[in-house]
C-alpha cells in the first residue's frame, strides 16, 4: 500500500486518504475469520466525507434527471439519483452516473484558444480571456457595423437545457434579443411538434398525461419510439402499467429491446405510420366505431367547410354579425334544424351536411372520411406491411380495449412525410376518443413550463430609459445558409451571414448533409465556439472558449424533461481550469458590445425574473421556498391529464382536424400544395419508402439510431460509457449481410450521392431486409473513413421545416 500502487500522479493525496480509511474499516481488510463467523466484530461504519449537492442532468435527452452530486476535497467524485417528491419519478441512467468521465475528461477545454491551423483541423494556440473576448467583440462589431446585427448568427441547439442555458425562454434567447442576432435553426423534431401543436394545442406537458397515469390504461401502444434507448426513465411506467394488467403493443420497423418486451409487436414499413393511421380510421368509419360524442363535443369534426374554396363557413356568411371581431365557424345543429355557431349547438351533426343557405359544404368529418376512403385494408396492408388481420385487430383494440395510451416521440418524424405520419396519428386518437381522459392520451409528453414563466421580463429586457431591447433577427434554416451567403437574400429580403457564435451544440457532427455545411462554414468570416470539450465543431472555431461543466455552475432546470418538477442545480465544485459558464461568457460579450445594461448580474437574478411568483402561486411555492427545497412540482393536480374533459388549449378549445389556410412554417417561396395540409393526408417518404425510385440505385434505407450512452454527441468524451458502445457500426439483417458477403466485424462502406462513411458491420436479425441502423452520435474522428452525417439530405417537407435525417437511402459495399 505505497504510493507506487497509484499510477496517477496528481491525485495521489486523495487516493492515499481513501486507502487509509479503507484499512481503518478493520474487518473489511482481513479480520474476518475465514471459516468461523463467531469471532467477527462488526466494523464501525466509516463516516463518508463526501458533501452532497443537488444537480440537474440536462442535455436534452428528454429525461431530465435530478441527481446527487457527491463532492470530496472540492472535486466531484460520483453522481447518483436524488429522491424526487414522488419517488416513482426518481431517475438516472448510464450517462447520469458517469458525469465524472465528462468533467475530468482529457478532452476538456482548459483555456481560451485561437486557431492556428485550418478550420476543422483542430490546431490552436492558448490565449487569454481578454484577448479571446476582445477578438470576438471586435469581429462582432465589425460585422454588425457593415451588415447589420443579423449578419451575426447565434447557432445553438440543446446542450444545456437550463434557464441560463438553452432551456425554454433561456438566457441565451434573451441575449439573442439583446444582440439582435439571427439564429441558425437545424429544425430537428419539428414535424411531430408541429403536428401536436396544431392538433391538440400547446399544453405545458404538451399532449401527454403524466406517466403516473399509465397504470390507468388498459392498453399502451408504443408507436414511433424506442424508449428503452431514448427515454429510459419512461420505461418502468409502461412495465408498471403492464403489471397492473395493461397490454403492451409496439409498432416499429425494428425488433429492438422495446419490441422484445411487447405483448404484441407489429412490424411496420418505415415511415408508413400515417398510412396505418389512415387505414385504421377507415375501419373506424366503415364500422361506425368512431367516437361520435367525443368528436362532436371536443373536436372540430362537425365544423362546416365550403366546397368552393376549402375555408370554413362562418356565421357572418349566414347573416350573423361578428361580435367583437369573433366570427365563429358554423355547424349544423340537428336539434335546432339550423346552422349555428359551433359552441351553441346542442347536437352538432357530424356528417351528411351538404348545403346551408345554398352554400355547398361538408363537415370536417366527411372530408376526413373521403380522405381515408382509398386506404382500404388491402392497400393499407400493402403500404405498411402490416397484415390485414392485424390492422383489423389493432382497430378493434383502439375501439374496445381502451383507454389506450399512445406513446410516441420522434420515430416517425425524421422523414419527408413526418408531418403527415403524426397529424394522422393524432386524428386517429380523436376518432377513437383516446384523448383528453385518464388512461388515454399520450404521444408527446415533455414539460414546457410557460405557465410559470414571466416571458417578457425574461426575454425582452429594457434599457435604463425603459426601451425594450432590439429583438432577435430571423431564424434561418441551416439548409439555406450557403444560398444566403451567395445571394445576400433570404425570404425576399437582404440577409447576410458573416459570423457565427456557436454554443451548446455540435452541428458538424449531428446536423444533416455535412458536406453542404462544410462548403459554407469555411467561407464564414468569423467563428467563435464555446464548449465543454474539443468537439468536432469546436475544431472549426477561430476563437474557442472553454465552458465549465453543468455542476460547476448554479442553474435551474424545468423544461423538456418528463418529470413534473423544477429542480435547483447547485454549484458543486469550482469551474475547472480557466473555464467559465455560458452565462458569464454571454455577459462578457454583452459588456464588450455595449449591452451591459441588459444583462443579469448573476444567474439567480435571472431565475427570479423568469419564475413568475403569481403564476407559480397555484403550485404552492415562492422562489425562496424553491431554492430551499431544491425541487417543486409545477404541474397541477396529483396526476395530470392533458385536455381533461376534452377541452384543448387550441383557439376553439377543440381538437383540430382541419386547417383552412395552411401556411408553411418556413420560407419555401410559395411552393406548397395546400390540399395536402388541410385534413388528414399521407404520402410516401422521399427515400425511406421502399418503392421510391432512388432505391433502385441505393437499395438500403438507413435509420440513425439514438444511443444508450450518448445524448446527441454529449458523452462522446466519457470513456466509461465507451465500454458499452465503443465505436460506430452498421446493423444489418443476416440475409442482407449474406447477400453482400459481409460477416460480423467486416468494414463496409455506406454511400450515396451526398457522401459516404466506412464503419464496421454487425449482424442484427432485428432489422428487416433492406433496412439498416447506425447509432448516430459519433464524430468524424471515430469513423474509419468519411462521416455518417454526410449521407443524410437537407431537404424539407413542403409545409414544415424539419430535418429528415432518417429519410436516407444508401448503397453498401464490403471494403
Amino acid at each position: 500500500m505505497t504510493e507506487a500502487t497509484n499510477p496517477r500522479g496528481f491525485s495521489r493525496r486523495s487516493f492515499i486518504k481513501g486507502v487509509a480509511a479503507f484499512t481503518a474499516a478493520g474487518a473489511l481488510a482481513g479480520c474476518t475469520p475465514k471459516d468461523d463467523d463467531k469471532q467477527q466484530v462488526d466494523p464501525a461504519p466509516a463516516e463518508c466525507p463526501d458533501e452532497i449537492f443537488a444537480g440537474a442532468c440536462r442535455g436534452n435527452c428528454s429525461g431530465g434527471c435530478f441527481l446527487n452530486v457527491h463532492a470530496r476535497d472540492g472535486r466531484i467524485v460520483r453522481t447518483s439519483a436524488r429522491d424526487l417528491p414522488d419517488t416513482r419519478y426518481n431517475r438516472i441512467c448510464s450517462r447520469g452516473v458517469t458525469h465524472v468521465g465528462r468533467i475530468y475528461s482529457s478532452q476538456r477545454l482548459q483555456y481560451p484558444m485561437k486557431r492556428v491551423g485550418e478550420r476543422g483541423e483542430g490546431k490552436f494556440e492558448r490565449i487569454t480571456w481578454d484577448e479571446a473576448i476582445d477578438t470576438i467583440v471586435e469581429n462582432w462589431k465589425a460585422i454588425t457595423d457593415e451588415y447589420g446585427p443579423t449578419a451575426m448568427a447565434m447557432w445553438t441547439q440543446s446542450g444545456n437545457q437550463g434557464m441560463t442555458g438553452v432551456g425554454m425562454n433561456s438566457y441565451h434567447g434573451r441575449m439573442r434579443n439583446v444582440f439582435g442576432a439571427s439564429y441558425i435553426s437545424m429544425n430537428f423534431d419539428c414535424a411531430h411538434i408541429g403536428a401536436f401543436m396544431r392538433a391538440c394545442g400547446t399544453g405545458f406537458y404538451c399532449t401527454g398525461n403524466e406517466p403516473t397515469d399509465l397504470v390507468n390504461s388498459k392498453t399502451v401502444v408504443c408507436w414511433g419510439s424506442n424508449p428503452t434507448v431514448s427515454l429510459p426513465q419512461f420505461v418502468h411506467f409502461v412495465y408498471d402499467a403492464r403489471d397492473a394488467g395493461a397490454k403492451y403493443i409496439v409498432i416499429d420497423p425494428v425488433y429492438n429491446a422495446n419490441a422484445a418486451k411487447a405483448d404484441w409487436f407489429i412490424p411496420i414499413n418505415p415511415a408508413t405510420d400515417g398510412a396505418l393511421a389512415m387505414g385504421l380510421m377507415k375501419v373506424f368509419f366503415d364500422k361506425g366505431w368512431h367516437d361520435e360524442a367525443f368528436l362532436a363535443a371536443s373536436t372540430e369534426a362537425p365544423f362546416l367547410v365550403k366546397k368552393s374554396d376549402g375555408t370554413f363557413l362562418r356565421m357572418s356568411e349566414l347573416g350573423v354579425e361578428p361580435v367583437e371581431g369573433n366570427d365563429p365557424v358554423a355547424v349544423w345543429d340537428e336539434g335546432a334544424g339550423a346552422a349555428v355557431a359551433f359552441g351553441e349547438a346542442s347536437s352538432p351533426k357530424l356528417d351528411g351536411v351538404t348545403e346551408v343557405n345554398g352554400i355547398q359544404v361538408s363537415t370536417v368529418l366527411d372530408l376526413m372520411r373521403e380522405a381515408v376512403s382509398s386506404y382500404t385494408l388491402e392497400r393499407t396492408s400493402e403500404i405498411t406491411g402490416v397484415p390485414v388481420k392485424d390492422i383489423e385487430e389493432l382497430a378493434r383494440v383502439y375501439h374496445e380495449e381502451g383507454p389506450v395510451y399512445t406513446a410516441s416521440f420522434f420515430g416517425a418524424d425524421h422523414y419527408s412525410n413526418g408531418t403527415y405520419n403524426y397529424w394522422d396519428m393524432y386524428a386517429l386518437l380523436f376518432v377513437s376518443g383516446n384523448m383528453g381522459r385518464s388512461g388515454a392520451g399520450g404521444m408527446y409528453a415533455s414539460l414546457w413550463p410557460f405557465h410559470i414563466c414571466n416571458y417578457v421580463g425574461a426575454m425582452m429586457p429594457v434599457d435604463s430609459a425603459g426601451n425594450f431591447c432590439q429583438g432577435e433577427g430571423p431564424s434561418i434554416p441551416s439548409n439555406v445558409v450557403a444560398e444566403i451567403m451567395e445571394t445576400g437574400m433570404y425570404a425576399g429580403a437582404p440577409q447576410q451571414i458573416k459570423g457565427l457564435f456557436i454554443q451548446y451544440t455540435n452541428p458538424m457532427a449531428v446536423n444533416v448533409d455535412r458536406n453542404y455545411m462544410e462548403t459554407w462554414i469555411q467561407k464564414v468570416d468569423f467563428i467563435a465556439v464555446a464548449d465543454l470539450n474539443m468537439t468536432e465543431t469546436a475544431k472549426y472555431a477561430d476563437i474557442l472558449l472553454p465552458v465549465c461543466h453543468w455542476f460547476e455552475q448554479v442553474e435551474v432546470f424545468n423544461s423538456y424533461g418528463q418529470a413534473p418538477y423544477m429542480y435547483w442545480n447547485d454549484k458543486a465544485a469550482e469551474p475547472l481550469y480557466e473555464s467559465k459558464s455560458d452565462f458569464e461568457i454571454l455577459n462578457l460579450i454583452a459588456e464588450g458590445l455595449g449591452y451591459g445594461e441588459f444583462t443579469c448580474k448573476d444567474p439567480e437574478e435571472f431565475f427570479r425574473i423568469w419564475i413568475d411568483e403569481d403564476m407559480a402561486a397555484p403550485f404552492g411555492f415562492t422562489f425562496d421556498q424553491f431554492k430551499e427545497s431544491k425541487v417543486v412540482r409545477i404541474m397541477p393536480g396529483e396526476v395530470y391529464v392533458h385536455a381533461e374533459g376534452g377541452v384543448f388549449p387550441t383557439a376553439t378549445g377543440r381538437g383540430v382536424l382541419y386547417q383552412e389556410n395552411p401556411v408553411p412554417t418556413y420560407y419555401n417561396d410559395g411552393q406548397m400544395d395546400p390540399s395536402k395540409e388541410r385534413t388528414v393526408y399521407w404520402e410516401p417518404a422521399f427515400e425511406a419508402d421502399v418503392n421510391s425510385e432512388i432505391r433502385a440505385k441505393y437499395p438500403y434505407h438507413v435509420i440513425s439510431e439514438h444511443m444508450r450512452t450518448r445524448t446527441h454527441t454529449q458523452w462522446w468524451e466519457c470513456d466509461y460509457v465507451k465500454e458499452y458502445e465503443p465505436e460506430p457500426v452498421v446493423k444489418i439483417n443476416p440475409e442482407d449481410a449474406a447477400e453482400l458477403g459481409i460477416v460480423e466485424g467486416d468494414v463496409v462502406k455506406l454511400f450515396n450521392d451526398r457522401g459516404e462513411v466506412a464503419i464496421k458491420a454487425v449482424i442484427n436479425a432485428g432489422y428487416p431486409r433492406k433496412v439498416v441502423g447506425v447509432p448516430r452520435s459519433f464524430q468524424r474522428d471515430e469513423f474509419i473513413e468519411g462521416h455518417f452525417g454526410s449521407l443524410s439530405m437537407r431537404d424539407y417537407n413542403q409545409y414544415v421545416a424539419n430535418a429528415i435525417c432518417n429519410d436516407c437511402a444508401v448503397g453498401i459495399e464490403k471494403m
Partner: protein, 207 residues
Amino acid sequence: MTRYGMAIDLNRCFGCQTCAAACKVANNLPKDIVYNVVHTVGGDFADCASGTFPNCELGFLPMQCQHCENPACLDACPTGATQKREDGIVWVDSQLCIGCEACVKACPYEGVRSLNAGEPEYYLDVVVGEFDAPAHLAGTMEKCTFCYNLIDRGEVPACMQLCPGRARFWGDLDDPESEVSKYVAAHADAHLLQEEDGTAPKIYYIG
C-alpha cells in the same frame, strides 16, 4: 442473521447498463476491471437480436458475482484471500491475493471476475467514486463486493441505487419483509443461475 442477496427481474431489464456504469464509478474501477455488466441475450453484438425477422429473440442478462452461500472460489483460494463475511458477502482481500486465478477456474459463473494483470490503468487522472472504494492492486483478482463499504454505512450497492427499469431488488434474504424477499416470494418463476452446481448463489432472476 443477515444474508444479503438480490433479485433481478429480466422482464424489466432493458439493457441500459446503468447498474454497470454506476458500479464502475462508485468503485473507482480501472479500465479493464468489470464487476457487473449487462449481457445481450440474442445476437452476438450488444443490443442485437437473433432469429429471423420478425420472429426474433432479444433479452438481457445482468451478471456479477453471485455471492454464493457455498462459494467454490473460497476453498480454491490458496492464500485465504477469498473470504466470506458473516452476512454472506464473498470478497477478495487484495493484500493476500496473488492473482493465481484459481477462483476463476473454480467458479461456475463466467466473466464475473477481472484480473489486474499489471498496474491498473484508469480512464481519468483523478480518483473518483466512494472514498473507501476497493484498492486496485497489480496482480490481484477483483470482483463484485456487493459494495460492502456502502452497505456497512447503511447505503445500498451502487448498482442498486437506481435501476431505471425498476428491475433490481436488494436486501436481507433472511428477512421476509426485505424488498428482495418479498419480490422473490411474489414471483413463482424466481430462480437461481446454475443451481445444479451446488454453490447456492444468492442472486435470484425472474423471467
